[in-house]
Amino acid sequence: MQKSTIQFLLINCLLALVLFSCASVTKNYTPKKLDKTSYTVPYFSDSKTDYVYKTNISVYGNELSGIFIAKKINDTTHRIVFTTEFGNKLMDFEISETDFKVNSIVSELDRKILINTLKDDFRLLLKKEYLIQEQFENESSNIYKSADGKRDNYIFISKKDQKLEKIVQASKTKEKFTLTFSSENNIFAEKIQIVHKNIKLKIELNYFKSE
């Protein structure tokens, strides 16, 4: 009797653990009825604007700083350039939801793993349209779930002022990386952070007005 109880408890614990970790991404959110089926991101969408940010990248304890430039060059594609403060170009990409082209990269940064990581980061940063399948909420935000291949994106819109505050890309069980936005007017993000969970990579973008 005692033995089977222990087994039962063990199984329960394991089950709970499995369920718990499976649901870890949304575990603190309350499901809610869908109030929209798509969401359009306001940032980076104006083809007339040069999006210029002072950038600090911290990767496994190494610090790299420079200038991040994004510009929408046609309906589907953004040009992304990262330069040093002196203006030397370190990377130059063209990126759309389906295509990715490296125009140039300095040999020191020409590593497949880095390029692929940045590709995923920037693609999410510049993504405009999300189709929504599920909706949740927590205390401060409405959370929209949007499928993205094998992964899901969770879009956090503040309840207070309807601003896009955060996008989390997650596998079925784990958060992969998070984009956090600070915006005054919900058209332009003055400050953006890209933080990875499984690798020590953090990218911070601070908008600067070139005078």
Binding site: K48, D50, V52, K54, N56, E63, S65, I67, I69, K71, I73, R79, V81, T83, E85, F86, G87, N88, K89, V106, S107, N206, F208, K209, S210, E211
Partner: protein, 208 residues
């Protein structure tokens, strides 16, 4: 018809004339001499600068500005003040960086490429780069100015810089503009102004 062609040729060549005209070898010798005399006198130099980063796909150049201080033989501080604070000091084989208060240092004692960059910056600002064997140099005249174009010979350097153009004030024989071309479309243009030569500059300036 003939007059039209003649006028057209005159117009085109006139235009070229107004922009750049190759120096004769006598003019080159004189120009180098003038610059060398001035740059030899430079013990310290401080100048304000405005940097324009031109990328062909942008609607506007990215403008940053600040101050540069140089002291013989190889102390250099390059300081951006607008729109952010970022300062870089070259000192005793080290690069000291202060990025909005976040400090870091890179030892360049053995890094050839950085030693070369250091030499390049000091050479660009003082103007004394003509003896550099690493470039092929061509010389031009402009209105009230002289222009020297440096093309790197070294393949590694060439990957970063396609060409350096130094513009000199004809009277003062000092550099007024540095242009670093990455490709035909993209370049960094640095305009130097309010230059002060040989004012007393304390070594403590070169801390970060």
């Amino acid at each position: 018809m003939k007059t039209k062609i003649a006028l057209l040729i005159l117009f085109i060549s006139g235009n070229l004339f107004a922009q750049e005209q190759k120096m004769t070898s006598a003019e080159i010798a004189q120009f180098k001499e003038d610059v060398n005399v001035v740059s030899k006198k430079i013990k310290t130099l401080s100048t304000d600068f405005v940097q324009y980063k031109h990328l062909d796909f942008l609607s506007k150049d990215i403008e940053t500005s600040g101050k540069m201080v140089f002291k013989e033989p190889a102390l250099l501080q390059w300081q951006y003040k607008k729109p952010y604070n970022y300062s870089i000091v070259f000192k005793n084989g080290k690069i000291l960086i202060n990025d909005e208060g976040k400090k870091s240092a890179v030892d360049i004692g053995n890094s050839k490429i950085f030693a070369r960059i250091n030499k390049l910056i000091i050479g660009s600002v003082s103007g004394n780069m003509f003896d550099d064997k690493e470039f092929s140099i061509s010389y031009f005249k402009l209105k009230g100015q002289n222009l020297a174009k440096f093309i790197p010979k070294d393949a590694t350097l060439k990957k970063y810089i396609k060409q350096i153009e130094l513009t000199f004030d004809k009277e003062e024989a000092t550099v007024v503009q540095v242009k670093l071309l990455e490709s035909s479309e993209d370049y960094t243009r640095i305009v130097l102004k309010n230059k002060v030569i040989n004012a007393k500059i304390d070594d403590s300036v070169f801390t970060n």
